[in-house]
Symmetry: C2
Subunit: 341 residues, 2 copies
DNA sequence: ATGAAAGCGCTAACAC
DNA sequence: GTGTTAGCGCTTTCAT
């Protein structure tokens, strides 16, 4: 069996409670004793058993991170940032994938509840009611979704959508398509709404297509439908769909951005690797992961249930260009400024 | 506080051990009692505390998954598959990221050791000795690296490299470059060695460049050096580097595959999304994740320390084409067969 | 400053 | 088939 507190106590000639104190309340133990205990512990390779500690303190020093799809490139940077941030604060992270299934989400929260001090729910697909229910069973921070009274970290996708639409309208586009994401996605609803408002304000028409799975093949499959609308610009729920559409259009001989402009969402790594490079709304996913961890860990201290909104940024690359109503001689660079207003 | 076994016992009028048995050894309890206990447990929302159980059984039903870099697209499909597979077997998964740092790896294994039944070490960068040492402290399965006597799951990257080189030689290339990956990578050494042997066998020269970080910018930065060698084909350590190189070459006006052929490794999702689409050696990362989990969970049962090698597959796409010594009229399709030999 | 003792939630002999 | 008891590794009063 592994080395326990008892072994260290015996080897250093003190009671186990002294060893315990050496690790959990060092200031309460005589410096000399402490040094000795630490030395034997080191020598024996002793490491406190967190689970046993949790049993009595009620704090596991673990957190859960539940995401819709680990393999969706949107999430890994967030997972990485959250894990690194948590570990720096001496927390370990359970990661679980729901495969976009709301039922799995609920089960997972319950299954993890006892082993963690709190759970980060990223882009949950379940209903508000379900989330509120779970909130009573375990501390929760929701990422990418805003629910009254629940601590949350969201990106300002509404502002991002507005920037994107203004950018397109400024380029002279008057008929846009929004390629919807999955049902149940808060982000999707926000983008669609904000894009609609911004389009109306800009005197442009917005056709909504979908819902779609947030994958590149869905974007590729939507090419026909997009062309059928006669629109000259497309805003997609995420970069994956935008890239699928981008390549599918080009494979059909439709030039991007000459004939159709395409804007994505997220700014995943791939977006800078495809040609044309993708104009997209950058989401600060890593910062969101860190903020969510902080919020979760603070939740224990006070009862504050803050909601943080992180800003998004339109990244103008080469998949967007002048539309049919472009002011004479307008260039992408010129209208870029407009979107910033 | 949460509901415990004692609450259920009281509410259903039995002793706590009966409740315990109801969950851990149902066949030992009277069907009627069992039904009643289960009902009250359900009603009260009781869920066994795994940490408390682990304290006495010694089995946590958790596993650790340590990867070099969560954000590297090579890993997420593996993490996802491993997590899903583990959960299906009622195991939860700690995920941690070492940022390619061998010191962090060691610390992480030790920190996680007490909370898990075993650890999956993916693409570890530390030395064989260190890994063997850790192996004594906690059950380990190593992925993407072969060490004598240690249970491991690897992909047959040597065979993959040979296929790739034969493919290129068959296309008429006689001077190849291997773009090395990170120092400490077993996969990198294997590919380099196998590529060297295959090149020699095919009467071709192989120039090795590197080491490099396994990221796209490293591939892009290597473009000058690649051109300077005068080689007509490049095999890269991974797809990210291959894609970086691919785009950097094209941005410099060097046509791919007309002037230079490029082959990657891994077959990450992005490889099918860039243009030209990337010829690459597909790694069964998801299968590797599942196999590693199985191996880890079986390790407890018997002491078997198997080593599994998963086959790789050359996926021929559009980034490779005829070289200067191509047989007249040779097409990519024709020589594809050659690589399969 | 240190030791003694109780107990966190649970399982595993051992009785009956 | 069920209750009793001890104890997993640790923290936390309470004494001393």
């Amino acid at each position: 069996m592994a080395v326990t507190i008892r072994d260290v106590a015996k080897a250093s000639g003190v009671h186990i409670s002294t060893v315990s104190r050496t690790f959990s309340a060092p200031h309460l133990v005589n410096p000399e004793t402490r040094t000795r205990v630490l030395a034997t512990a080191e020598e024996l390779g002793y490491r406190p058993n967190r689970a046993a500690r949790a049993l009595i303190t009620g704090r596991t020093h673990n957190i859960g991170l539940i995401v819709a799809d680990i393999a969706n490139p949107f999430f890994p940077p967030m997972i990485k940032a959250a894990e690194t941030h948590a570990r720096r604060r001496d927390y370990h992270v359970f990661v679980a994938d729901t495969d976009e299934d709301p039922v799995v989400e609920t089960d997972l929260v319950r299954a993890l509840a006892k082993q963690v001090d709190g759970i980060l729910l990223c882009s949950p697909r379940m209903s508000d009611d379900q989330i509120e229910q779970l909130r009573r069973e375990v501390p929760l921070v929701v990422v990418n979704r805003l629910i009254d009274g629940l601590p949350a970290v969201v990106m300002d996708v509404g502002a991002g959508a507005r920037s994107a639409v203004r950018h397109l309208v400024g380029l002279g586009h008057r008929h846009l398509v929004y390629l919807s994401g999955p049902r149940g996605s808060w982000t999707n609803r926000e983008i669609r709404r904000a894009a609609g408002v911004a389009a109306r304000a800009g005197g442009a028409e917005l056709t909504v297509l979908g819902p779609h799975q947030p994958v590149s093949s869905a974007g590729a499959d939507a090419a026909e439908a997009v062309l059928a609308t006669g629109a000259t610009a497309v805003l997609a729920y995420n970069d994956l769909m935008a890239i699928g559409l981008l390549q599918s259009l080009q494979d059909r001989g439709v030039a991007v951005p000459e004939q159709i402009s395409v804007v994505g969402f997220d700014d995943i790594a791939t977006s800078a690797l495809v040609r044309p490079t993708l104009t997209t709304v950058a989401n600060p996913t890593a910062a969101a992961g860190r903020a969510a961890v902080d919020m979760l860990l603070q939740q224990g201290d006070d009862g504050a249930t803050g909601q943080v909104t992180l800003r998004t940024d339109l990244v103008i690359r080469n998949s967007t260009g002048p539309g049919p109503y472009a002011p004479a001689g307008a260039t992408t660079a010129q209208v870029a400024a407009y979107a910033k207003e």
